[in-house]
Homo-oligomer: 462 residues x 2
């Protein structure tokens, strides 16, 4: 545990600030938070009550306040901005990075948006307006225009001079992008290379020509994959004519990776809530969650009713052997688990780019084999243990074991195939998540179970 993420340290900080706020010791607070990281300040802020939040916020320096606002949601942003006078709003807004500004105002009403943009300086206003055009899940939507580029025909000395000048406004100065006279991206130099190169060299002669870049419309997940694959600190974003339009820095990529991972995890659970609901009030959160989860549950309801239909079709066997009902939850549970395991591995593998080309068939073969083997082990256990439940009717135990096995192999196959097929036909495989697959598996599992038991029991018993 680092001292900065230790829960006790955080609790103590909050406590100290609350005490100082109560005693109106503004100066002491200023001092207490002076060397504190903005992320820590934001963390303290969120834990205060509404009244204290406003008090605390107004004690922050413009720079601190700006950094804090980069971490809040649109609603909180508006709220805090609302307590300031116009001149102060201008000072504050200047501190916020372009890409965060775009995130903050993207979901506001047209009117509110215009009002805020009107408070920005001309250059920022222009950039923000341009950035607002792009879909928020694309490279264009998460990039910033605060990057450093130099012309290819200048010297290293000149490039370093330019860089010093531009450094203040840039999100990162660790990559210097090289452009031709049409602003087309033709190369890249790291700050490291700039520093160790001879000052009278020409940029073009020492730059790397093979720049890894993404298009404005590239999905943010693909952007993250490229940054991760090539271990970049930032990636340039170009338009269709290869002109550099912005950059995306690695800290934003980390957010994308975490967001996408959370999204994937939620989807596996049949919920689509990915919004950061942290700062909403509880009834809004509940309502949003119900809305996001209900569709999946209703699919499950109808899946379950279909299962009921299937069971109804076999009611005769069931009436004769009510004992068969005992193993239905076991059957559904095993099929569901095996299927979920296979589908999870497949969906994650597709998302991480591990399952493509030759790997597709290999994965399918592999999962079916795994289903075969784990199915065999589990069925033997079930067959043996179930003997105790059904007073030693060996044939019935055998039948239950066999259907369990068939069910598990089928489940593994469905769990693997569905995401692959979804991917092929262009549907996000993560949508083929738990509820859909488990419902399918439930229905096929019950059909297999009752068909096999009907056939086997009629052959072996009657």
């Amino acid at each position: 545990m680092t001292k900065n993420t230790d829960e006790n340290v955080i609790e103590e900080r909050i406590h100290t600030v609350e005490e100082l706020l109560n005693r109106n010791e503004d100066l002491k607070i200023k001092e207490f938070i002076e060397e504190m990281h903005p992320a820590d300040i934001a963390e303290v802020l969120f834990e205060l009550n509404d009244e204290d939040q406003v008090k605390f916020f107004s004690i922050l320096s413009w720079e601190q306040a700006g950094k804090v606002l980069e971490e809040v949601n649109s609603e909180t942003f508006l709220e805090f901005l609302g307590i300031l006078r116009r001149e102060h709003k201008i000072l504050l807004l200047e501190q916020i990075a372009q890409d965060d500004m775009v995130d903050l105002i993207a979901e506001l009403s047209e009117e509110k948006r215009k009002e805020i943009i009107s408070l920005l300086n001309l250059e920022d206003a222009k950039s923000v307006r341009e950035l607002l055009v792009y879909d928020e899940d694309t490279a264009g939507g998460i990039m910033t225009k605060e990057f450093i580029s130099v012309r290819k025909d200048i010297t290293i000395y000149q490039a370093i001079e330019d860089l010093r000048e531009m450094a203040k406004d840039a999100e990162t100065i660790y990559y210097v992008y090289v452009v031709d006279k049409n602003k087309r991206l033709v190369g890249v130099l790291s700050l490291r290379e700039l520093i160790i190169s001879r000052p009278n060299n020409i940029v073009e002669d020492i730059m790397h020509e093979n720049v890894i870049s993404v298009n404005l419309k590239t999905d943010q997940e693909d952007v993250a994959r490229a940054v991760s694959k090539y271990d970049l600190l930032a990636i340039p974003v170009v338009d269709d004519n290869n002109r550099i339009m912005g950059i995306i820095t690695v800290d934003d990529i980390i957010d994308v990776i975490e967001e996408e991972a959370t999204e994937d995890i939620y989807r596996f659970a049949g919920a689509s809530e990915v919004e950061d609901l942290e700062h909403y009030n509880i009834s809004e959160r509940i309502f949003a969650s119900v809305k996001s989860r209900l569709p999946w549950l209703i699919i499950t309801v109808f899946g379950g009713l279909l299962s009921a239909q299937v069971i109804g079709g076999f009611q005769e066997v069931l009436n004769k052997n009510t004992v068969l009902a005992l193993f239905m939850p076991l059957l559904a549970g095993m099929g569901g688990n095996v299927g979920t395991q296979s589908s999870t591995l497949t969906v994650r593998g597709i998302a991480m780019g591990d399952i493509q080309g030759k790997e597709v068939l290999r994965t399918l073969f592999q999962e079916v084999c795994i289903g075969f083997l784990v199915g065999l082990c589990c069925s033997i256990i079930v067959a043996i243990v179930s003997l105790f439940f059904i007073q030693g009717e060996i044939i019935l135990s055998f039948v239950v074991g066999i259907s369990m096995w068939a069910n598990m192999i089928t489940a593994a196959t469905i769990g693997t195939l569905v995401p692959i097929i979804f991917k092929k036909i262009g549907v996000d495989p993560a949508v083929a998540s738990a509820p859909f697959i488990t419902t399918t598996i439930d229905i096929t599992g019950l059909s297999i179970y009752f068909t096999l038991t009907t056939i086997l029991l009629s052959r072996l018993v009657y």
Copy 2:
């Protein structure tokens, strides 16, 4: 889609290399891959057959080969190293970053490890031996010793000079760590700040004193959280006396975040396979998967048998109303889904640090409310639609609906409570995953269902 992660581009590259290899056009290959990124070269390599792999590998420059080896597993590493002569091994090993070297040899036998370390230069050998001591999931296990530090009492000019000299061997030069005479970490300066500061300033006067650092023993997940929270490009690792021992760069943090996310996702599915199995052969992969999944499935088997026990206890009711069996899969499905939704959100929330302090009770309250609401909606649908199945027996439909509702509220409560309790008692909540929770929910759900139906039916019907 970026041009570098586009599947077609990758396919084409592989194809070109295969063709050139067939025609033994080594020079053309050298040319073709000259400007290619090492990550792309590695990608091509992995898709070749064994024979071509060796041929292709021997065409790479030492630098390319070194970078490629940073991406492979221990087995492949040994294999490729094996085809080289001693002098060439030395040249190649020099190219590999310390932290990757440690990953590569950590799991080898003592003997093999010694053999490889004996090929390193003295300094690297010393570092690697030191790094091997730390657990691979901790800061010490993923850090590198290739960082830049300067004494606090020198000038900026001198610091930049030092940096130029050390730049070649450092993993990142974007942070310069400042130490006192006992090597204790006392500050940090970004390269950006160094560059824009006046050369005759003293380091101590312009450095940031509040350095965010982690301890050697800090869990890698906490390291990732700190880097993500504070938007760092690298984080220093210190020992218990605050002496700087190494750094961890953001590209390794991205790997940690992806690895942990995959691990979490797999755990939700009841599988613990997180090893990169990509380069193992298929029977090894299958065996490893079976081993990792079987324990969860066997828990489910016994859970299912417990369910069978519960149903057995109510066999009398069931015999009278075999129609009750129809809704058992539906009941299990709904409970399972609601419970999984709640537990997934809770486990992920705990992992992301969102659920702590005040948030714990709020989350529980919220999830129970959600269970109440979605349960209400679904139960009404079930009650109405089930009427068609059971020939208009309104009371039975009503009973099924009510038990469904009770089941869903309980499921949401269990799904939220179990991870919270696990966290409190110090067990990783992600272990409280699908199989455990769904089994618990199945059993409580069936008990509720049959108890309620028994009571209600006896009151209302008999």
